[in-house]
Symmetry: C3
């Protein structure tokens, strides 16, 4: 009953930071099941963390609590928050980490960008009740001292409104990528996986329907048409990846090394007339 | 009661692929205990994965379900299978990943090598019941959409025969290494561990009995006799390692770096007359 | 009820060694919750392991069993032990790994340094009951064959005295760092985290009280005063880190790379008169 907690951080696994968070969680809720979602986000790369979180959180049981800590502003006055969606809880600093989670809800941007206004059924809470935190709170490790205990309380069934004050806006990342203009979609590489597959921020639903011609331009190369699998391809292929985004890959080889491309590189999709 | 599930993949831990599989498993069986066996197999190295799986699976409780996903053929017509042994279940693509698990059962090779015929008490099933899979099935991520849900069903007690059609052959890897000829055994390095220990595919049971002289030839070096531990050795030593295979090591140093040797390098064991 | 077990090793995660230990634990206590504390200790670096263990173990529930395996002497006559403190159990080779855990108890050094005499409420036991070990015991993997089964027994409630013979001394590391002389504290870098923060062995409690001037000398640089957070700093800062030790950091940058400094590098703290 809501006793799953996942962790997404840029803490890596060479230190004991992740273990300290788990120790705090288990000390409050010994029955929790704590799962590493990803700890190898580039240091302080909020956008990559937001993207990677979005590729996996929805596979977890309903009401899982997802802690996300990529937090260059730790110890400053940036807010710490709980976001409650119909399917899950998120506990994170309010710095844009939940942008991809929020996207399907089509939040209205506010004049004071980068803030957006929450719409039902979303609810959010600023963490304002220190009595639920671990003491003393380290100014450099809110993951252990604030986010972990708050997530543990949520997993025990404490209502979010008891843990903070309701708020009606959240920070979001610049939503200008991907951008569509005419028959061209311009996106960027959001993540590179262990195989060297280059995963863009262009969701599969933006791609032209089957039967239309499609051309992908990336790093000086031109790829015509979409593949379905990696196996058997000659040279680079573009395909809708398992996470729901367009990706560039090489069969049994490393596309990132081949293209010498990194996170942030531009990718363009040009859709044309029916070739049929 | 069969609620343990292990994961062996070449997915690494820098992405969310492993987490997505765990989310799918927990969504079907919230009581499962999911354990990482190894995720750092070289990309697409089926033989290494088969070897590493074999060094650890037998330590888990009886009826543990072991998912193994190193799957260069994902999305092609290669079969997906369940293997049931007296001690465990395995869920994997049918591409040789279970070769070391099968070895003690001495399967007869078939004329259509690389296939082998199953013998009792082994049973295997081709995964042919999409109603037990996650939908839609990504053509590039059967680990999440087929293997994870099937393993979760097994862990809940669903019988394997309900999840697929029984088959009587499985794909195995070329069994020609190690090879014995006269007093010489020729094998290859199957895995290099974090200490740089070079672990061969020559099982301890093939080594000459204590009291016989033994010489190991590797990468131009000649090592006489077997050591028992790493500690205190001068120069490279050969010893029966903790996984049951002959390995080459350096006390408190990295033998792989010393020998500049990689997976697949040849190693020879020459047994001689009693030196007594 | 004492069913948590953590693992701290230099085994990394590229092999199946950690998984084999977990399999052994779960085979004895299927209800245990096993948590990775850290597996990326430098090979055979006992001091680093002792330090990292100390930065995280205290966040776990009371009576957690902490297995620590950095064991260059495996298979020699070094002892294997259980340490029982009022808050936790530790299972490890007797080679100094528990030095930081022992520090608050101020053990008297013995003439036969590096041994120290235990004081109440501490109790320790040499593992002398092979009937509780996995057989056969590999001479190179006591983690799997001795420490894991013993920890599993402790987690089930077996009393430590049933698993070994009580002993009254333990091996400790050279306690000469950090050293105070006059107004100067000389310490060393004990660990470098994934962000490149340089974490020293100088505990926060040795630092001068707020209001006194403080100067840190490190790698040719002079840092005046202590920061509270990473955010917003220009150039290198020194601050009491989240683990309770003085650390050197760069805001959103890698201090270890900047200083080209490694574990063991010297750091000096000079406290002066009140600047007020």
């Amino acid at each position: 009953m809501g006793s799953f907690i996942t962790l997404t951080t840029d803490f890596g696994l060479k230190d004991s930071y992740v273990a300290a968070m788990k120790g705090v969680i288990y000390s409050i809720n010994p029955e929790a099941t704590v799962v590493d979602l990803c700890h190898n986000i580039q240091p302080q790369n909020i956008r990559q963390a937001a993207f990677v979180l979005n590729t996996a959180f929805s596979y977890f049981p309903a009401y899982t609590v997802h802690i996300v800590v990529v937090d260059p502003g730790v110890g400053t006055d940036r807010r710490s928050i709980i976001l409650k969606t119909p399917a899950a809880y998120f506990v994170a600093p309010d710095n844009g980490l939940l942008s991809y989670v929020l996207e399907p809800f089509q939040l209205p941007s506010l004049p004071d960008y980068p803030r957006a206004r929450l719409v039902p059924p979303l609810r959010a809470f600023a963490l304002t009740r220190p009595e639920y935190w671990r003491k003393p709170v380290s100014p450099t490790f809110h993951g252990r001292d604030i986010f972990a205990p708050i997530a543990a309380r949520l997993s025990l069934g404490t209502v979010a409104s008891a843990l903070g004050d309701e708020i009606d806006t959240l920070c979001i990342l610049d939503p200008s990528s991907p951008a569509s203009r005419g028959n061209i979609i311009t996106g960027h590489i959001a993540h590179i996986d262990i195989f060297g597959n280059l995963i863009s921020d262009i969701p599969e639903r933006l791609l032209p329907p089957a039967g239309q011609s499609i051309t992908i331009e990336f790093a000086g190369a031109v790829i015509r048409g979409l593949a379905r699998t990696y196996a058997g391809a000659q040279g680079p292929v573009a395909l809708p990846g398992s996470s729901g985004y367009l990706e560039i890959a090489l069969d049994r080889d490393n596309a990132a090394a081949f293209f010498k491309a990194g996170i942030g590189a531009e990718i363009r999709v040009i859709s044309g007339v029916n070739n049929g």
